[in-house]
Structure formats: C-alpha cells, structure tokens
C-alpha cells in the first residue's frame, strides 16, 4: 500500500513484478559474492533457490530486499528503475522478535506499513489466525518457541501486504511439525497470489513447494527451470552432483 | 503500553513543576550575603522569623566567607551584605558597590586550643600567644578563605610582628572552609584555632577544646551591614533591602540581637549608632 497525501492508504497502481536482475554483481572487499547474476522473477508459482552453503542464496535474497546494494549491474522492479518497491517483505532464517508481545510485534509491522491505528486491531487478529498463533497473542514474543517465532515473523511479513515474499531457509532450524506449519502458511500465501521466493536446503521441501527452481553455485546461477524438470533431469553435472547429495565445491 | 508510560511521565513532570510553584511565587524576599560564622552561630534562625513576621519579607541568607559574600554583592547576586571585616567593607563602599555602612553588633574572637595546652599559651595576651605558637610550631588551623575571621587572624599575626606567609610551616594548616569546619579540624588534630565567640558557643563537637585566650582588646570583632548599590545593579530590591537594614539597626532589631542566647550566654552585642556611621 502507498500512503497518499491526506493519510489515505491506496493500493499502488503499478505492480512491482517482474523483478529483473541484469548481470548483478556483489563484492565484499576482494570477495565476489554474486557474479553477474541475471534472473527474472515473475508472478506465479513459488520460486525456490537452491545450492550449497556459500552459493550466495542469502545475499541474493538480501539484495532483492534492498538490504544490500549491487556493486555492478541493474535491478529493475516492474519495468522501473527509479523507485524502490514497497510491497515486498522478507523472513530471515533466524527471526528477531521485538521485546513485546506477539500481537504487539504484528501491530508494529502494521504501523510501519502505514495501516491506520483504528484498523490495526482487526488486522492483528486476522494475521494471528492466519499463522495459527491466536492463542499466544499476549505472550512475550521472545518466549515463543523457534517454530512459533518463525510463524510470527511470517505474520509480520504478511502484515506488509506484500506482492513478493522472500524467505531465507525459514525452516532450517525447525523440527518437522513446525516446518510443516510454516510450509502450509507459505503455500496458502502463494495460492492467495503472493509471489514466493524462497531459499531452501531441503530437496523434499523444493518438491513440495516449487513451481520454478534456481540453482546457484559460487555466486552464479548455474541452472534454472521448472521444478519437475530440474529435479528429475538436471542439465548440468554440478546440479546432478548436488541432487545426488555430493558436496559440490 | 508506550502511551501509558508517556502519560505517566508527563504527569510526574507536571507534579514536580507544581511542587516548585510555592517557592517561585514567594511574594517578597531579599537575598542577604552573610558569613558562615554568623550562620553557624544560629543567629539568623532566631532573628529572621522576627523580621519576617513584622514585615512579611522573607530573608534568604547565603552564608559564605566575608570576602566571598562581598563578591556576591559586587556581582549583584545579593541585595544586602552583612559581614565582619571593616577594612574589606570600606573597600566595597569605596568601589561604589554599597550605599552606606552601618555598625550592627560586635562580639569577640577567642583563641581555641586543646585543654591541656601543650604550647602553653593560656592567658590574656593574643600577641604573645601567637608568637609562642609560631616559635613552638604548634599545630594551628587557619580559615584560609578571605573571611572576616581569616582577615582578623592575618591582622593579628602582623601585629605580633610575624610575617606568616614567610614564617609558616607544616604546623600551619589553611583549610579554606567555614568556622565550624575549622573547629572540627582543630578538634580532630588537637590544634589551635582562632574563632569568633558566637560560633564557639553554639558549636557541639568540642572534644578536648576550650577557650585559651580571651578578653584582649585586639580580639574585638565588629559586624557591619550595607545595602548593595542599586545604581550598580538595578535589580537590587532596594526598598525591601533597606527595610532589613533599618530593622537591624532599629531599637527593636538591636534588642532582638541582644536577646539571642545559648545556654544563657549572649553571643552578639548590639552597637548600632542611632544615626549610622
């Protein structure tokens, strides 16, 4: 949503997708973290980003969120390169909870997203229900379990009414039950029209969620395509080794 | 949660500001710069309520050394100065900071020391006592703070023919504090100290100390009062300040001064001239 003059909130008239990365590089000192990555993300089924540790998945997501700036190359949203997008949100692998209750965490995210005070209470309840935390609304957020905190982080992200939701290995530290809960929320969000871009370590998760897969290695995109194609018939040998479970250097 | 805390903080702040309101809206008051010896003797606690009851003017006393009190007057931070060092007061007058000087009261200085009197100075002659102290290098506490008492002490050394600046050694301790503090130090160190009688009589921590030399004419201590010159500092409350000066030298004020006693002993002796000096 965009805050127009007079305090009204209106839907942004333009869409922020497709997200196009054109030969984007990212350096940290002498190290090349992303090397001429070219990628197009369009609306539709979830895109899962896979690859070994250090491939640059996290950096790619952070760059898409605006937490990092590219050292070279161009990033365009919805065909524009002048204005940063508003309706995007991110969930980190280890979420940081504000030192307040679960409901207040969500209310905070709503406030930052420009939702007027009188509308917040209803939205907070709605979001708590959506992630299954209605019973814990008054609990101090930092005392929630890992899975509950991740679901709360999801609620905070969804509070921003995003067009694109970035997730950085959100279930990597969670037990299977908590992971399933998170995946269900993500799937429902995708079915509701939100574009999901998610880094994952878990090939089973890729099979369950992905429409498209992007395979990264050493800061570059090695292969990308429809999930079924990639998982059953990868075109590159590295992808093959990766899917077999080898350590791909 | 945040708004509740904000409301609480605001309420607390209002409460404290209002708590100051009575002090700020005090109707009539004057600031009198006086000396620590007068304050420590308790005279003001006795005298001022009488003045306030009669005139409705509150008197705020700042107690400092005489030199400091006169400087406060020079800066215009006081309306009246009430001190006891005639030479310094006349300099103040000559510089144009005071309107007119009036004698108010006198008492005397006494030489205090340990009852056992290790230096053997007991007697009636202050000059020979000081000479003995210096010769025997007996421990001596000096105010060291440009106060009336300090000024008198320095004058006495000079009269005794001693150049104290050159002649002082580690036996001479200048502490730069008020009379009470000096007596405390003398009590703790078993030393000699020059004090005004008023402070001594009301002092409670005597320990082993006692009066060793008194009655010498040179130990006479005169107090004077002056209104700070409104021409130098237009903010001086000249009417109320003058009212205080007038009351001090009036028969009523003089009788009040004479009425101040501790353990039946009178501390200050009124001596204002009927027409001022």
């Amino acid at each position: 949503m965009v805050r127009a003059a007079g305090g009204l909130t209106v839907r942004a008239p333009v869409t922020d997708l497709p997200l196009v990365l054109d030969r984007v590089s990212l350096n940290a000192g002498a190290t090349r973290i992303l090397d001429r990555v070219s990628l197009t993300i369009t609306a539709g089924a979830p895109t899962l980003i896979v690859g070994p540790n250090g491939a640059g998945k996290t950096s790619l997501l952070r760059l898409c969120m605006g937490l990092l700036s590219p050292s070279a190359g161009a990033v365009t949203w919805g065909g524009r390169d002048d204005r940063a997008p508003v309706r995007r949100a991110i969930v980190f692998q280890r979420p940081v909870m504000l030192r307040r209750s679960a409901a207040q965490n969500i209310a905070y995210a709503l406030a930052q997203a420009g939702v007027p005070r009188h509308a917040r209470a209803a939205r907070v309840c709605e979001l708590l229900d959506r992630v299954g935390l209605a019973a814990l609304s008054g609990r101090p957020a930092r005392r929630l379990s890992g899975g509950e905190q991740q679901r709360l982080a999801l609620a905070r992200a969804l509070a921003r009414d995003p067009e694109i939701l970035l997730l950085d290995e959100p279930t990597a530290s969670l037990d299977p039950a908590a992971s399933r809960a998170v995946e269900e929320i993500v799937l429902r969000a995708a079915q509701g029209g939100i574009k999901i871009v998610m880094a994952s370590h878990d090939l089973g998760q890729v099979r369950r969620l992905a429409g498209d897969v992007v395979f990264m290695l050493r800061g570059t995109v090695r292969e990308q395509g429809r999930a079924a194609d990639f998982l059953d018939h990868p075109s590159t040998s590295e992808a093959n080794s990766f899917l077999r479970g080898d350590l791909v250097i | 949660m945040v708004s509740r805390l904000r409301k609480f903080v605001l309420a607390a702040l209002c409460g404290f500001t209002l708590g100051f309101a009575p002090a700020l809206s005090a109707d009539r008051s004057i600031v009198v710069a006086s000396t620590t010896s007068t304050e420590d003797s308790g005279l003001f606690g006795y005298l001022l309520p009488l003045f306030t009851a009669k005139t409705g003017i509150a008197v705020k006393v700042i107690a400092q050394g005489t030199g400091q009190a006169l400087d406060t007057g020079r800066r215009g931070d006081a309306d009246v100065v009430f001190v006891h060092a005639k030479a310094q007061e006349e300099k103040f007058l000559a510089e144009g900071f005071g309107v007119k000087r009036h004698d108010v009261m006198y008492n005397d200085f006494v030489l205090i020391g340990p009852k056992a009197d290790p230096a053997g100075v007991k007697g009636k002659d202050i000059e020979s006592a000081l000479k003995t102290i210096q010769t025997k290098e007996a421990p001596f506490i000096s105010r060291g703070d440009r106060s009336g008492t300090h000024t008198a002490e320095l004058a006495l050394w000079k009269q005794a023919g001693i150049d104290i600046e050159a002649g002082k050694g580690s036996w001479y301790r200048a502490i730069g504090q008020g009379m009470g503090a000096a007596l405390n130090t003398a009590s703790a160190l078993q030393a000699y100290v020059l004090s005004d009688r008023g402070t001594w009589i009301s002092f409670k921590n005597r320990g082993d100390l006692d009066i060793l030399v008194e009655g010498d004419k040179r130990l006479f201590n005169q107090y004077g009062v002056m209104l700070v010159n409104p021409e130098k500092h237009p903010t001086v409350k000249k009417d109320d300040g003058q009212a205080f000066v007038d009351w001090l030298i009036s028969p009523e004020g003089q009788a009040a001064i004479a009425g101040y006693k501790i353990d039946g002993q009178q501390l200050f002796f009124p001596d204002a001239e009927k027409k001022g000096s």
Partner: protein, 230 residues
C-alpha cells in the same frame, strides 16, 4: 530545625522543616532526572545510530563526561546565572530551578553514554528486521529505546543516584538557604560544620533510606518490564 532534638525524633514527629528538606531533595533530583532522561535518552540513541565524520571523538567525549566533576558544573552554572552573568536577567541564582539545571547537566552524560552503548548493541541485533520493515530514523530510535528499556533503567537509576548524592553543585548554585534551597545533602554539610554530628548522621541515614526506597521501586518496575519483554 531544632538542634536539641535527635534526627529520629524529628522523623517521628514529622518535623515540618525536615519534611520540607526531604521534599525539596526529591523534587530537585527527580526533576533533574526527568529532564536529563528526556534529553539524554534520545541523545544517546542518536549518537548510536548516526554516522558522521568525527563520531568516535563524540563517543569518547560522552563517556568521559560521565566523570565531570559536579563542583565544576556548579561553578559554571553559577557564573552563567549570576546577575553579572549572561543569563542573569532570569534571576535564577539561589533558586531550586538553578539546582535542577546544574544537576541535569551533571547527569545527562551518565544517562546518555550507557544509552549509546546499549542502543548500538541492540541495533546490531535489530538492524535487518527494522530495515526490512522500512522503519525510518526516528522510528528506529524510538523502537530501540523502548525495547532496550530494561537495560536503560539501570542507566537512569545511576543518574538518580548521582543527583541525590550531589552536594557541591547544589551548594554553589542554591546557596543552602534555609527553607528555600536546603536539601538533605547540603543540610548534612551544614550540621556537620556546626558540630551537630549526630544530627548530621541522622540526616544522612534518612537520605540513604530515601535512595534505597526509590531504587526498590525502580527494581520492581524493571522486573515487571522484563517479564513483559520476555
């Protein structure tokens, strides 16, 4: 205040002069604390979040000012507020307001310096999330200050302790005037110099009890807050 009565008799008899002194001490120290917190908390937070050339110098300076000698502040404020000084027209010298001003200056660094450290540490933890939620600079400051409140209580308490114990500055700018600017600490000095050591000690004990009571209140609030924060 009567010299003959002991300190305990004064407390039990609720001696009005004693009550006035206690009320003034609390009013001055708590007012100075409120003002210093109002200034020092945002100041520390801003210094933690902003980046500008020469910032390390300011950080070191702020830390060093925690050790600013109170008497020096008292003297400086005295010269400022004196009738012969630049702010003399306000007639604030020898009033409780002057005492509040001096104490506020003294305790601002005591609150601001630890705040800067606490907010800086918390920023490292919150950085990604707050940027991801599009939180602006003022929002970051407010959020970090609120979330760090449990730690900041300690800084604020340190400030109060210093204000309540302070005697040099309030003596100089207040003048220790009976009934107007006499606080617990300056009363202790006065009674000591009059040789009334038992009374002075009694006043001192009352002062310590007052500070302990306030610390207890803050401790309870802090514990409650910590439970809320999780």
């Amino acid at each position: 205040m009567s010299d003959e009565l002991s300190a305990w008799q004064l407390i039990i008899g609720l001696d009005p002069a004693l009550l006035a002194i206690v009320r003034l001490s609390l009013a001055v120290s708590l007012s100075a604390l409120a003002l210093a917190a109002l200034i020092g908390l945002p100041l520390g937070a801003m210094l933690a979040l902003l980046r500008f050339p020469g910032r390390p110098v300011f950080v070191v300076l702020l830390n060093a000012l925690m050790g600013l000698p109170p008497v020096v502040v008292g003297l400086a404020v005295y010269l400022l507020l004196s009738r012969s000084g630049p702010l003399g027209a306000f007639g604030l010298l020898f009033t409780p307001t002057a005492m509040v001003i001096a104490q506020t200056i003294i305790i601002i660094p005591i609150i601001a310096a630890p705040t800067r450290q606490t907010v800086e540490d918390l920023w490292h933890e919150y950085r990604d999330e707050l940027i991801a939620m599009d939180v602006g600079p003022i929002g970051r400051m407010m959020t970090l200050l609120w979330d760090a409140r449990v730690s900041l209580f300690t800084a604020v308490l340190a400030g109060f302790g210093r204000a309540a114990a302070e005697v040099g500055a309030v003596m100089i700018v207040g003048g220790n005037i009976e009934g107007f600017t006499r606080t617990m600490t300056t009363a202790v000095v006065l009674e000591t110099s009059k040789g009334n050591l038992p009374l002075a000690m009694g006043l001192g004990i009352i002062l310590v009890a007052m500070v302990i009571a306030i610390n207890a209140v803050v401790w309870t609030t802090r514990a409650w807050s910590a439970r809320q924060a999780g």
